[in-house]
């Protein structure tokens, strides 16, 4: 039996070292790279359509901060332990033109997501508001949720990406006293 056959793993340390080098020189993962999540939907197009002045609230949580948060807050861990990204924008259109732009853009996002395989969970039309709810499913699990609320003087866009439990999230509306978005300090 030759030496190589007797020691088939002799080159393994060199291979492992090469793999480590490749891992070290490959580009580092982008911190909080929420854009790569299947359930992530970017709501910045809404801001770009009407300008920063219309933004009353913008929330963007992902990566290490969200992980740290769910680690220190057991209640949020139970509700949002599987979430990898939370993104929300609240806009107040300055006039009817901005309002039309935002409404058109919301319709565009809605159609685009349906085209990408999202399902429309609900489309609520009420006298004072229109609410669109879309989900991205993967088997039995829900990987993304988009909420878009159109009101006369306000447009709300929210996106949750990661593993979601809708029953739990729906339950918190009754079980917990959660502040509304208007209670968030925009500064």
């Amino acid at each position: 039996m030759n030496e190589r056959a007797r020691f088939p793993l002799r080159r393994a340390p060199v291979s492992v070292a090469l793999l480590l080098i490749l891992a070290a020189v490959s580009p580092p993962a982008v911190a909080g790279g929420a854009e790569k999540l299947a359930g992530f939907v970017d709501g910045r197009a809404l801001i770009e359509a009407v300008g920063d002045d219309a933004v009353t609230v913008e929330i963007s949580l992902s990566g290490p901060l969200l992980t740290a948060l769910t680690k220190v807050d057991p209640e949020l861990h139970a509700l949002a332990g599987g979430l990898e990204s939370i993104h929300a924008v609240v806009l107040e259109p300055a006039g009817s033109l901005d309002r039309k732009r935002l409404h058109a853009l919301v319709a565009e996002i809605d159609a685009k997501l349906i085209g990408q395989g999202w399902e429309r969970l609900a489309h609520v039309r009420e006298p004072d508001a229109e609410v669109k709810l879309l989900v991205l499913s993967a088997g039995e699990a829900i990987r993304g949720l988009v909420v878009m609320v159109l009101e006369e003087d306000e447009v709300v866009f929210a996106n949750l990406a990661g593993t979601l439990d809708l029953a739990k999230i729906a339950a918190i509306g009754e079980g917990l006293d959660l502040p509304g978005l208007d209670r968030i300090d925009p500064d």
Binding site: A17, L66, V131, S137, V147, V149, I169, A171, L178
Partner: protein, 175 residues
């Protein structure tokens, strides 16, 4: 089985080789070797064969190796010596090289990687409030959707996705 102990044969052959290489044996070693050879025919024959081989080799005409070949030989000898040093310490040179490279890679990674993210209490508090707000908004939207979904279900205008809605049908009916 009669005859000298194997260990004595090994020692004797060591002395035989040193003597053939021209290393002087001290008196005691020389005496022990002669005594052993006198009583051990196997070692005596080996000693005789080695002397004969040495004499034959010395009688051969000397050739001159090309300079390049000498240089190659020296390089091989130096490399073998380095490997021998590693082996003496029980180290496979490939393993040693892999260990050096791995240590270097881990060192570079450790130095180059950003420090662990540790949000402040204030950042965490703000993030918690924001998370609750967005979850609250989502919950409100879901509740709103539940009410409308009831109507849509009754109208037979509902996508399969509605099954995922956490609807309490009895409560809605009572309302």
């Amino acid at each position: 089985m009669s005859g000298p102990e194997p260990r004595s044969c090994l020692d004797a052959m060591g002395s035989v080789h040193r003597r053939l290489d021209g290393d002087p044996l001290d008196d005691a070693e020389g005496r022990r070797l002669e005594q052993h050879l006198a009583g051990c025919s196997r070692c005596r024959e080996a000693d005789a064969e080695l002397r004969s081989l040495q004499t034959t080799l010395r009688a051969l005409p000397l050739g001159r190796l090309p300079d390049a070949a000498v240089e190659r030989l020296l390089r091989h000898a130096a490399r073998d010596e380095r490997r021998r040093v590693l082996r003496r310490w029980g180290v496979d040179w490939r393993l040693a090289a892999a260990a050096v490279v791995t240590t270097a890679v881990i060192g570079i990674w450790y130095v180059a990687s950003p420090p662990a993210f540790r949000p402040s209490e204030a950042e965490l508090a703000r993030a918690a409030a924001e998370t609750r707000a967005v979850l609250g908004l989502t919950a409100q939207a879901l509740r709103r959707a539940e009410r409308t979904a009831t109507r849509e279900v009754l109208a037979g205008d509902v996508a399969g996705a509605l099954r995922k809605l956490p609807i309490d049908w009895r409560r809605i009916r009572d309302e």
